[in-house]
Subunit: 154 residues, 2 copies
DNA sequence: TTCCTTGCAAAGGCTTTGCACACCG
DNA sequence: CGGTGTGCAAAGCCTTTGCAAGGAA
């Protein structure tokens, strides 16, 4: 396959990063990266496939998964569990997001990262662990489901 | 099936809570609850099945999943995503745990809940959302994988 | 007696993997 | 060229679901 399609600046930045790590750059990887960067918030493997397919058919779901795995391990994207059955991914450049996922109704509220306070610093100091603060999912009950009272909304 | 097996005090407390909500109490539900309470930290559906099967064969994986769903919606257990392919559950009484999951090597570090600071309060005040603080998973890079440098450990 | 729960087995959905070919560097 | 990456298709998991029988209240 030729490398003739358009790439954004952001995409090229990550491409370069991958190249420097010794990974080969293929049109598929570029397109998957673009799909991730173009998504406003989070995107699933299936959605990435669909997005890339608007450009070309030269893409396979297996490649999407393999690339996701690569990008995840390289820290270019983060994994977001939005309830167990909805695993999505997002590039770190989309900024810090905290997802509040209601375990009863499934609603997802985007919270300001300020609620995290000193969490990142604390974890680094005490455990030497570098938290990916860009995307965090917290589970609980939303306002409505708390008010619905004790009965099961199911 | 008869109801002749032993139950712990903690199990009975939850059983009563379920009963008051109008749910029927079956030996299967009691045993699943006990397995959850007996596990030191988190436990998967498969592990629950195995635990219950040490007592009786009168249990099916489908029942485990259906009960997990019920307990989750009732807020008796919380779901913990430890990396996408490892979804585990734990009862809230096991206390607050923060899991630091390394996205590169997969290691899981148990952190003190103190690192969360005022997070719970912040989220409640600003969004009216009641976070399940008992079990939170944060992704990032562990100390070793940070030192391993930039190359992929894979 | 009512109808919620379970067991069983099949279906479903998502993800991974083996293998041969393609192609990046 | 050498070795990595991809497509294809099959396999693998884990989880869900339909239906009839069982049993809690």
């Amino acid at each position: 396959m030729t490398r003739a399609h358009h790439t954004t600046t952001a995409t090229r930045t990550y491409i370069e990063r991958l190249r420097q790590k010794g990974h080969r750059i293929t049109p598929q990887r570029e397109m998957i990266l673009e799909a991730l960067l173009a998504s406003s918030a989070h995107i699933t493997a299936e959605e990435i496939l669909a997005a890339v397919q608007t450009h070309t058919q030269a893409i396979n779901i297996a490649t999407v998964y393999r690339t996701i795995d690569l990008l995840f391990k390289e820290g270019i994207i983060t994994r977001v569990d939005l309830g167990g059955e909805r695993i999505a991914y997002t590039t770190v450049r989309h900024g810090t997001h905290v997802h509040l996922v209601c375990r009863r109704c499934g609603r997802v509220i985007e919270a300001d990262h300020a609620v995290l306070g000193m969490l990142g610093v604390q974890v680094r100091q005490r455990y030497g662990f570098a938290v990916d603060l860009e995307h965090i999912a917290l589970f609980g009950l939303c306002r409505d489901c708390q008010q619905t009272g004790e009965q099961l909304a199911d």
